[in-house]
């Protein structure tokens, strides 16, 4: 479960997020939509502290995962990131073999047991619906896969370390329609075991995969409700305008 309380976020002097409070429940899919630059990706990256990599940022308010403030003193960022997996906009496999890509997270977390790693790699690839396509070429370079396969590999990679939450930052935006469909199907399956938060610029996608949807604009959370309600009967006029296509 993820919860934020009155979160303000700044890049230097620029306020990227304004007073955002919301709650994402266990084993649900939450989608963030909104025009580019609205802060939805920034908000997503708060949950695994990926924004920490940018110099000169600061945060006000609270950001809780399972009731614990992840920005509190003494929180180990790498432990947090083990719990909160992430899939990026563009597939970004490492220049390693397919197997090593999935095993990476296990290895950096100190796992040495070969059998366990092999088993985990297979499970993860199966969860990511990629096992059948790659089981005969696990030692081949990950770059030999197609874009859609690479993205599912990245999902498998994220799943391998058994996170409880998976963040997806426009995971299908760089893919063709068939690959996109596969990813969406996958998200649907993953919901059973993981809490998923997905940023997308594609409203149909949000409508198809998510239980709840948050609409962001200019750093504010304009509306947050059940996806069905949001797309059929939004409360705010801005949401209505965006959904019907008056904004980019």
């Amino acid at each position: 479960m993820i919860e934020t309380k009155k979160v303000d976020f700044f890049y230097g002097d620029f306020q990227a997020l304004k007073n955002i409070s919301m709650r994402m429940d266990k084993n649900t899919v939450t989608a963030f939509i909104g025009p580019s630059g609205c802060g939805k990706s920034t908000f997503l990256r708060l949950f695994n502290r990926m924004n920490d990599l940018i110099p000169d940022i600061h945060l006000k308010g609270e950001c809780l995962i399972d009731g614990q403030d992840i920005y509190a003193r003494g929180v180990e960022v790498d432990e947090l990131r083990k719990k909160v997996g992430m899939v990026f906009q563009k597939p970004n496999p490492f220049p390693k073999s397919i197997f090593e890509n999935v095993a990476y997270g296990l290895r950096v977390n100190g796992m040495r047991d070969k059998n366990f790693i092999e088993q985990r790699v297979e499970e993860s690839l199966q969860s990511a619906a990629l096992w059948g396509e790659v089981k005969d070429k696990l030692r081949k370079s990950a770059f030999e896969l197609s874009g859609g396969q690479q993205q599912r590999l990245c999902i498998a990679r994220a799943l391998a370390i058994s996170p409880s939450i998976v963040l997806m930052d426009e995971p299908a935006s760089a893919l063709d329609p068939i690959s996109t469909a596969k990813i969406e199907e996958l998200i649907h399956d993953l919901k059973k075991h993981y809490t998923i938060v997905i940023v997308t610029h594609n409203m149909q996608q949000a409508a198809r995969v998510s239980d709840k949807t948050g609409f962001f604009m200019l750093g504010e959370l304009i509306e947050f409700s059940d996806t069905k309600k949001m797309f059929i009967n939004p409360e705010k006029e801005q949401t209505q305008n965006y959904i019907t296509g008056r904004f980019g």
């Binding site: 790498d78 083990k82 090593e100 997270g105 030692r139």
Partner: protein, 404 residues
């Protein structure tokens, strides 16, 4: 008017095009001149031009190699039987000796030593075991008692496999580049061994850890390190490092291969740091993020993702660093002691190829075989650096498609 301007433009554009080729032309000229002079070496006679070696006709030895000549005249080979001749002690005869054997009148000194060839022939005829090194100008007439020994020309094998570099030895100079090549490689590789961990460490520090403020301090510092003239490095090495090495390792002399490696390591650092840092900075952000997002620490991300990803750039840095070290002249010349012998340990004087050229070209007469041999050394250097450039280019082009 307009037409004139058009023509002018054409002319200027033609000039630009021509100057575009200037570096290619320069390389072509360098190749042409280097190899023209250098390859002449293999047409040069083994003994100095204008001189020849003579023996008594009764001597069955027909030809002698450069090292044999050298050892004969150094009295290391003392009997003809060592050379396939009769069991007789070799009598070495040098041109000057003739003046103690005969008076000026007997040589007809007033008449441009007209009788000198005849007298020389007498000496050779009288000594069956003699070997004489004489100027051809006064050469004795070849007859039943005097014959010229074939000494041939300098061969590639003698040059590339020879273990002695004695370019001014008489009668046969020894041009064996092996000690120089080994000296160069030894000093350079040791230098890289020292510079590599240091350079990579600093490159990692600058690309991954340092704050913008520290980078702004380190970057110009490294540029400056690259800008210091090599002769200043040499001077520093001579005054500071040489005594330091001597004291630390308790040696007789501080001018050793190791001292050269130290100074070369410092000089190769900027190349290694700059190229490796560039390569690491080019690692896509997405790669780092993917690794960090899985709970890897910064250091794990660096050595498991950043370094493998930028491996081609790092290898290019190493190759370029080696290139820099191999070609460096002045600093090495000033601190390595310049003994042209086969090196055995790091703690004795050695001589590198560039240092040999710098030290000896001033004394070699233009067109002599020594001069040509030094140009041949230049050719070797040129070929090495060409290989280095091409390798570096090829490595950094080869992207990260493979990788396991």
């Amino acid at each position: 008017m307009k037409k004139l301007r058009k023509i002018l433009e054409r002319v200027i554009e033609a000039m630009l095009t021509v100057s575009g080729a200037v570096t290619s032309i320069a390389i072509l000229l360098i190749v042409a001149f280097l190899f023209r002079e250098g390859l002449g070496l293999f047409k040069s006679p083994t003994v100095e031009r204008g001189y020849a070696v003579y023996v008594n006709s009764a001597n069955p030895v027909q030809s002698l190699l450069p090292w044999q000549l050298k050892e004969i005249f150094d009295f290391q080979i003392e009997n003809w039987n060592e050379l396939g001749g009769p069991d007789e002690e070799i009598r070495v005869f040098r041109f000057n000796e003739i003046f103690s054997l005969y008076t000026d009148e007997q040589l007809d000194a007033d008449n441009d030593y007209a009788l000198l060839p005849e007298r020389l022939a007498e000496v050779i005829a009288a000594n069956p075991a003699i070997i004489a090194y004489l100027p051809q100008r006064y050469a004795p007439v070849e007859d039943e008692s005097v014959k010229t020994v074939q000494t041939g020309t300098i061969t590639m094998a003698q040059f590339f496999l020879g273990r002695k570099w004695m370019p001014t030895a008489k009668p046969a100079a020894q041009f064996g580049v092996l000690p120089l090549v080994l000296g160069t490689l030894m000093v350079s590789f040791m230098a890289i061994l020292i510079a590599l961990p240091l350079g990579l460490g600093v490159a990692i520090y600058m690309s991954e850890l340092a704050s913008e403020r520290v980078r702004r301090l380190l970057k110009p510092a490294i540029e400056l390190l690259a800008g210091i003239p090599s002769v200043v490095y040499g001077f520093f090495g001579l005054v500071v490092l040489v005594p330091l090495v001597q004291r630390t390792f308790n040696l007789d002399v501080g001018e050793t291969a190791f001292t050269g490696s130290l100074i070369l390591a410092i000089m190769a650092l900027p190349t290694i740091i700059t190229v490796a840092e560039d390569a690491m900075r080019n690692t896509p952000r997405a790669m780092r993020e993917a690794s960090l997002a899985m709970g890897a620490t910064d250091w794990q991300t660096i050595y498991r993702v950043v370094i493998p990803y930028s491996l081609s750039g790092i290898s290019a840095a190493v190759v370029l660093g080696i290139g820099r070290a191999i070609g460096e002249t002045m600093a090495v010349l000033m601190v390595t002691g310049n003994a042209a012998v086969m090196p055995h340990t790091l703690f004795e004087p050695v001589r590198t190829i560039p240092a040999t050229i710098a030290a000896e070209l001033g004394e070699a007469a233009s067109g002599s075989s020594h001069y040509q041999a030094l140009f041949m050394l230049g050719c070797i250097l040129f070929v090495i650096t060409l290989i280095v450039s091409i390798t570096a280019e090829a490595i950094s082009k080869r992207k990260h498609e493979v990788g396991v």
